[in-house]
């Protein structure tokens, strides 16, 4: 059941109504049942997986908490179980391929003889389970109520693509259940509308454009491919942040809060800042459960660099079992290491620090950071590593392309259908400016203080736009595949 589907448009109000009309003690069970129903709407059989892991992790939590001297063993067992589930479903084919390639000279590794279907959302709920058991090991109290724990792991607004929640923040909301208030709707509905607007009006339309360029880079020049890369940067941002807005808005309708996942990432002034603004719940998870356990930055430069590289490489692989995701992770790891080194140089060279901290320096930093991220997006979006290499080569050599009898620097302006192709030259600058404007608005309380009729007009406009211009065939959210 997609957030941008008619099914969800009927499912959500029904569950909201049932939830608020029911006695308080029934609300958590109702939400849990709705969440399982939501998960089963894809492939019912996988409910056994999420339910099974929930039961096992619940008991692991109790075991870790109660055990006096075997805490670590219980934690290892829990982590091995969670990770092996993830590896089996997500990486079995990839590892099989890698093993076959590496061992080819000495041994013929067989192909996996059966189909493995990747369960929806597995990367997200497995990470939540790991966080749960690790935090109990670190001293947090386990969740007493099984229903609350099961709902934490399966809460339908965040079930498929996060944000990755922390049980210490989320579960207490069940213990102090929210009371019915119209305010929940005034907070939730505009967020859902904004999310849908981002997804169906911006991201989906850009999808139709982006896939043409990434599927057929051979038809386009280097300059054209820069435009496709810019378009993908906005597509993935609006797609994923749109999803998160709908998730947060849906949770708000029940009176619950889930963490934010984005904070104007393209206004980041360095790559470290970017990771504090992009997919925040994942980057903080990687920090807390990978980077810090590896030793973090408590060691030599080389040691920290190793930890950064390892964390980002695994973070890249988390997105998918493919070489281009791996390379994307390594790329960000290298960028973070270089940024660290640059920060040290900056501290010791005063004129450099002054230049970087000036307004022009800040603008240049944002510009450069965006483009570093943009190159990363090419690795992320390309269908194969070969395709990514071709695209990047063309982008950096500004390779021309043959159009008719002559070589042209840009082929895109001659493409006039589908309309998104010519429109993208209007759309991308608007999106870039809107990102800047949003940054400005966020630093003030203009939105909060605006009169109600303006807010109502904003909602009405979003409702109308979504209703009238949603494409008939809306592509799935990008992060659903992870």
């Amino acid at each position: 059941m997609l957030f941008n589907s008619l099914q969800y448009a009927l499912f959500l109000p029904l569950v909201v109504a049932l939830y608020w009309l029911s006695p308080q003690k029934l609300r958590v069970p109702i939400l849990l049942a709705a969440s399982y129903l939501f998960y089963m709407s894809w492939r019912p059989i996988f409910i056994l997986l999420i339910f099974g892991l929930t039961v096992i992790n619940y008991f692991f939590g109790i075991a870790i908490s109660k055990s006096e001297n075997k805490k670590k063993q219980w934690l290892i067992a829990a982590t091995v179980l969670n990770l092996s589930t993830l590896v089996y479903f997500k990486y079995a084919y990839f590892l099989d391929d890698v093993a076959r390639t590496l061992l080819k000279p000495v041994f013929e590794v067989p192909h996996i003889p059966f189909d493995i279907v990747l369960p929806l959302a597995i990367s997200f709920f497995v990470f939540e389970f790991i966080h749960y058991t690790v935090d109990i090991y670190r001293g947090s109290a386990p969740v007493k109520s099984f229903l609350s724990f099961a709902l934490f792991a399966s809460f339908f607004p965040t079930q498929i693509a996060g944000p990755i929640k922390r049980f210490q923040d989320f579960v207490p909301q069940f213990l102090n259940p929210p009371k019915f208030s119209i305010d929940h709707f005034d907070k939730g509905v505009p967020l859902i509308l904004l999310g849908l607007f981002k997804k169906v009006l911006i991201a989906d339309n850009l999808t139709f454009f982006v896939q043409g360029g990434f599927a057929h880079p051979e038809h386009f020049s280097g300059l054209d491919l820069w435009v496709f890369a810019y378009a993908f940067a906005f597509q993935i941002y609006f797609d994923f942040s749109g999803y998160t807005d709908i998730a947060r808005g849906s949770a708000n309708l029940f009176g619950y809060k889930v963490p934010i996942n984005f904070n104007l990432p393209y206004l980041a002034s360095n790559i470290s800042d970017f990771w504090h603004r992009w997919h925040i719940s994942l980057s903080t998870w990687l920090r807390d459960y990978l980077f810090i356990p590896l030793g973090g930055s408590r060691g030599s430069n080389l040691f920290t660099a190793r930890n950064l590289l390892l964390t980002m490489t695994l973070g890249g692989l988390w997105h998918g079992a493919a070489t281009h995701f791996l390379v994307w992770g390594i790329y960000h790891g290298v960028a973070l290491v270089l940024h660290r080194e640059f920060q040290k140089i900056k501290k010791s060279v005063s004129w450099l620090a002054q230049a970087v901290d000036s307004l022009a320096g800040k603008c240049l930093s944002v510009f450069l950071t965006f483009h570093v991220v943009l190159i990363g997006w090419v690795l992320f979006r390309a269908e194969t590593m070969t395709s990514a290499t071709l695209i990047l080569k063309k982008m950096f050599t500004l390779e021309t392309v043959q159009a008719g009898a002559q070589a042209v620097a840009m082929y895109l302006p001659s493409v006039n259908y589908p309309l998104i192709y010519p429109s993208v030259f209007l759309l991308l600058p608007i999106l870039a400016v809107s990102h800047l404007v949003m940054g400005r608005l966020d630093s003030t309380d203009v939105v909060k203080r605006s009169p109600k009729f303006l807010k109502a007009a904003w909602c009405l406009m979003l409702m109308l736009l979504i209703m009238e211009f949603s494409p008939d065939k809306s592509p799935r959210f990008i992060y659903f595949q992870f």
Partner: protein
């Protein structure tokens, strides 16, 4: 405290909720637009479409046609290929599929045979199922635009196709539903709860039902802006590499510019061109869907009954196919299809001509396993006109038209 007293603060808050205001405004806007449409001030007609499908081009042309054609040609791309290929060969000129909607060849052949002028219009459209033929006839071929006869080129795929989700899912059905809602089949033509729910939502909300109108306005405005920015032919011709178009079609609705699909007269290089599309047909026939077959047969019956009721003479033509194509069909399907269409024609006083005769159409007349090439198109209308003339009953029908 009574329930009303408990609810009072919430009701007071509801009155102050800006989401509630927005919802209320949306309902008001919806009602206002419905009223505007009722009084004929709605700015968009059903013939204004953002995406220009083959049915859009044909319907637009048909609407603008001053005289009512004597004969309407109907059928799927099998008939469409014959119409365009036949005229391309006969006139030795390329035919733009989006703009060419008659068979000059058939008109001339009939003139020679019957010494009478017959005008034709082709509503043969790619993918046209029996259900599409029915909704087209029911909604567009009526009143002043009612033809005297319909020559409907039919083939087994038109009654059973694994690629079809539901009768209402085709572009033809969708387009025609904008012109006039085929209320008698609107719900049965949708085979999932969600598609019926979506239809219901459209009936409930004017704004939702008229989404294509808004899309048209948006496209129109965008084209206007782009034209000012120097995009040539933005309102008409398409200049896009085929691979990019094909990529877009995976996600976007059917859309083609007038210059995109062109059928050329035969040339030395195209004479032996034959593409193997059997994998596609294997998929289309892969599992016999009894329910779909019966459903499409019921639409064919409605179509024939409609002709009978309105006094439109219907001649069903079983289209030529290669033996390879027939061999990919599930066992017994072809015979059952022939018997079914034969029985229906007898029941509704329509006439059936079987042109799936390999002796008349050897493989050299085919562009693939199902579609005739340009020479095949010419051959098709030659054989068809002979059969129309030689079959005494059909010939009498033809003479009765004029």
């Amino acid at each position: 405290m009574t329930r009303l007293q408990e609810a009072k603060p919430h009701l007071q808050k509801l009155a102050k909720s800006y989401v509630a205001w927005a919802l209320l405004a949306l309902v008001g806007l919806d009602v206002s637009c419905r009223i505007a449409d009722h009084f004929g001030v709605w700015p968009v007609t059903a013939y204004d479409a953002a995406h220009r499908s083959t049915v859009f081009w044909a319907a637009k042309d048909f609407k603008e046609e001053k005289r009512t054609p004597d004969i309407t040609l109907m059928g799927s791309s099998l008939m469409m290929a014959a119409v365009h290929g036949g005229d391309a060969t006969y006139q030795n000129a390329s035919q733009k599929v989006a703009l060419h909607h008659k068979s000059s060849l058939l008109e001339d052949l009939l003139r020679k045979k019957f010494h009478t002028d017959y005008s034709t219009f082709s509503f043969s459209l790619s993918g046209e199922m029996a259900s599409d033929a029915y909704v087209l006839a029911d909604t567009l071929l009526t009143g002043e635009k009612q033809p005297k006869a319909i020559i409907y080129g039919i083939a087994p795929r038109d009654l059973m196709d694994n690629a079809l989700k539901s009768p209402a899912s085709t572009e033809i059905f969708r387009f025609v539903s904008r012109v006039k809602d085929p209320t008698d089949v609107a719900i049965p033509a949708r085979n999932t709860f969600w598609s019926v729910a979506e239809y219901g939502l459209g009936k409930l909300s004017f704004l939702y039902e008229h989404r294509p109108d808004f899309l048209f306005l948006q496209h129109d405005a965008t084209k206007e802006i782009l034209a000012h920015l120097g995009y040539k032919d933005i309102k008409d011709e398409v200049h896009t590499t085929y691979e990019i178009r094909r990529q877009a079609f995976i996600e976007l609705p059917e859309d083609s510019g007038p210059n995109e699909v062109v059928v050329h007269p035969p040339s030395a290089s195209s004479a032996n061109e034959y593409s193997d599309n059997l994998p596609e047909y294997r998929y289309r026939y892969s599992s016999f869907k009894e329910k779909q077959f019966k459903e499409q047969v019921s639409y064919l019956e409605r179509f024939l009954a409609l002709g009978q009721e309105r006094g439109i003479k219907i001649i069903l033509v079983n289209m030529p196919l290669t033996k390879d194509n027939v061999d990919t069909m599930p066992a017994g399907f072809y015979d059952r299809y022939m018997k079914t269409i034969g029985d229906l024609c007898s029941k509704h006083q329509a006439q059936l001509l079987d042109l799936n005769t390999p002796a008349d159409f050897p493989k050299r007349y085919f562009a693939d396993s199902a579609h005739l090439n340009s020479q095949g198109g010419e051959r098709f209308f030659e054989v068809l006109s002979e059969r129309l003339f030689d079959d005494s009953q059909v010939a009498s029908t033809m003479r009765g038209i004029k």
